[in-house]
Amino acid sequence: MVRDASGGLRIRGAGTWMHVGAPVIASQELHLDAFAGVRRYTPGDLTISVGAATTLAELDVTTRAQGQWCPLLPWGDDRGTIGATLATATTGPFAEALGRPRDLVLGVECVDGRGRIVRAGGRVVKNVAGFDLTRLMIGSWGTLGVITEVHLRLRARPSADVTLMVEGAASEAMRRFVHGALPPLAALPLGEGIARTLGHAGPGSWLLRLGGNAEQVAAARAALARLGACLELAPESWDIVRRELAPEPRAASWPWTPLMQRVRAAFDPRGVLNPGLLAERAA
């Protein structure tokens, strides 16, 4: 379909991102529904290969059954697809501790704008063979290629996983804790609105997730108890936070350098992939 396209193609996964970015000038939508599902999962390797249209929810269910997870947990909704998460390089509250899309993807299969089927990277956890087309595709918003399958690095879920709301902690003390010897998986200052949504209305509260073995988490908890009042919340609180606090994506405000323009022209010379989305014409 990419090879035969006469006009622009609008790439669509679950459709959760369609409002973002500049208007796409496209005569057709390219639906990726056919590229859904787990292709290969070897829990002992902590790697998984899935179709790009696989939802984050399905990925979570599949890996959770083996005590593992794909810890991207990006801002937004688990109805979104892994393909869109990578195409937009969407991070989440756990990115610093657990990795960004570029850190957790081992390889991608895609169709580039010239109609080539590109199988970049691989399924093993360390790989420097050839030029890195995987990193190139991640965060390219589908303007270089349409991602159809991805190979991901998984992690074991921490044996202890605790979510705490901490109230009344001084922000300097919290900063020291976050950068200290027992770093949390995430630490987020909460506005009043989201604190209320989570069922607690205290001012100046923080949401923290602690992960590790039981002793580590207990030690971190004890340290936090000295900083403020701690309330344990369900881990699902993070799903609410990821939905409610998702920042506006920056698709339309790209800093188009000449090198980036050359990359775009080289991989999609006819401009068929999401044309206009990144306001490249204005650049």
Binding site: G44, D132, G139, A219
Partner: protein, 480 residues
């Protein structure tokens, strides 16, 4: 392309005017040291070698070469293991004089450095702030950060902390045509051209300045040595640790041939010489809970058949255990005059089967394979000590290596985990990647270097690149 008519003397004089005459080498005797890197068996003489002393000089040199369309090869310390820094009649640009640590920001945990700074030097400089640079290739006492970025270098502690790619935040790069660009991860929008640049093996341009992530030193470290009566049992223990979700800081396997070589050398680390294999396992992190992690490692090793799991009692004992591992390649120098250091990655559940096959391949070809590798990543280093002057032995080594690489590819693995493709692995690229994928790699290279003057002939076989004619590659009768 290269203007063979341009006399070396006049080019040398012009480059000498930029960097100082004594930093340009043209005589064959002085170029000898730059004819190879750490990969044995390859010698390529550069046309001349030039060593800029500042970022401005580096840019000026690249622009001077661009004027005449001359090919060039960037070189750090020449510790590479894939022939990547060999310059066959090209101009060699050495960056080792660019060794300024420009800034360390302890609060942001970043360092800004020139490309010739030695890996271990940065870690020493960061120590005052309780920080270190995490990627730690075995050559870290000599290799440069610019070379590390070009190769996307790894090291034992990359199992937990990630490879070079995960530790580079920004690069200032001079493109082969002399254009200056700043590459980042695209966090504020933009393609991740930094990700494309890291590991591009000197084919996309030369980094003039790098901003790197520094990692806090762990509160506590425990280093263990587990000793096994079979390689398969050590591999099995590795697979079980990974599957159990334990992430050691490092998890290294050494087989008997390696243990013997180390113990007979000045780097003797006290490894049990009757063991078929040892695992060197390190766990680090907060003091709280570390004991529990170490106990879990011990239990898994014992359950997989370890005779003994020893713990380093103090920093000196830990240093000694690591010294044996890091100097294992050097120790093999006693066994034979030359050493092929291979590099491949396989899925971690297949380690035991692969090691078994590698042993039979070695036996079939009458060569001695020593395994010392990053087991936790599935990153194999089957090494063969040999005499490169013995044609028959060299042929057998070559044949064995080919079979080992083929076996790794068939297992769903890859041909290099951290050493790069360079010249050495070119023949395997077409086995590993489809024609379309290799062609797309050529496209990426050409956006950085349309004339392919930077490190020509490396990474992707030339014939894999279709002629770029500005038209889409249409196949199967499809029309646009």
């Amino acid at each position: 392309m290269a203007d063979a008519a341009l006399p070396v003397e006049s080019l040398a004089a012009e480059l000498g005017a930029i960097v100082g005459a004594r930093h340009v080498l043209t005589r064959p005797s002085t170029l000898l040291a730059y004819e190879s890197d750490a990969l044995p068996g390859y010698h390529k003489r550069p046309r001349l070698a030039v060593f800029p002393g500042s970022q401005d000089e580096l840019v000026a040199v690249v622009r001077r070469l661009a004027k005449d369309g001359l090919p060039f090869v960037a070189r750090g310390a020449g510790t590479g293991l894939s022939g990547g820094a060999l310059a066959d009649d090209a101009v060699l640009i050495g960056v080792q004089r660019l060794r300024r640590i420009i800034a360390i920001d302890a609060e942001a945990r970043t360092a800004t450095v020139e490309p010739g700074v030695v890996n271990a030097t940065l870690t020493r400089a960061a120590a005052a702030f309780g920080l270190h640079y995490a990627p730690d290739p075995s050559s870290q006492a000599a290799c440069t950060l610019g070379g590390n970025v070009a190769e996307n270098a790894g090291g034992p502690h990359c199992l937990k902390y990630g490879v070079t790619l995960n530790h580079v935040l920004r690069a200032h790069v001079v493109l082969p045509d002399g254009e200056l660009v700043t590459l980042d991860r695209g966090d504020q929008g933009g393609y991740d051209l930094l990700g494309a640049f890291v590991g591009s093996e000197g084919c996309f341009g030369i980094a003039t300045e790098l901003t790197l992530k520094l990692t806090p030193n762990p509160e506590a470290v425990l280093t263990m040595l587990a000793d096994f009566t079979s390689v398969a049992a050590a591999a099995e223990a590795t697979s079980r640790m990974i599957a159990a979700g334990i992430v050691p800081a490092a998890l290294e396997l050494m087989d008997q041939a390696t243990i013997r070589a180390v113990e007979e050398s000045i780097y003797a680390a006290g490894y049990p010489i009757d063991a078929a294999a040892v695992l060197l396992v390190e766990v680090d992190g907060p003091r709280a809970g570390l004991e529990a992690d170490a106990n879990a490692v011990s239990e898994i090793c014992r359950a997989a058949g370890a005779r003994e799991v020893k713990r380093a009692s103090d920093a000196a004992a830990r240093e000694k255990l690591w010294q044996g591992r890091k100097k294992a390649f050097g120790a093999m120098g006693r066994v034979a005059p030359h050493l092929v250091v291979q590099d491949a990655v396989v899925p971690r559940t297949q380690l035991a089967a692969l090691l078994n096959d590698i042993a039979s391949i070695g036996e079939r070809h009458g060569v001695r394979v020593c395994n010392v590798f990053h087991a936790g990543d599935g990153n194999l280093h089957p090494n063969i000590p040999y005499d490169a002057n013995d044609a028959d032995e060299s042929a057998r080594v070559h044949a064995a290596m080919q079979q080992i690489m083929t076996r790794c590819i068939d297992a769903g693995g890859t041909i290099t985990g951290e050493h790069g493709v360079g010249l050495d692995k070119l023949p395997y690229m077409e086995r590993l990647f489809t024609a379309d994928t290799l062609d797309a790699m050529c496209t990426l290279r050409e956006t950085f270097d349309p004339a392919r003057r930077a490190n020509p002939g490396k990474v992707v076989p030339l014939h894999s690149c279709r002629e770029w004619n500005g038209l889409p590659a249409l196949r199967g009768g499809a029309s646009s």
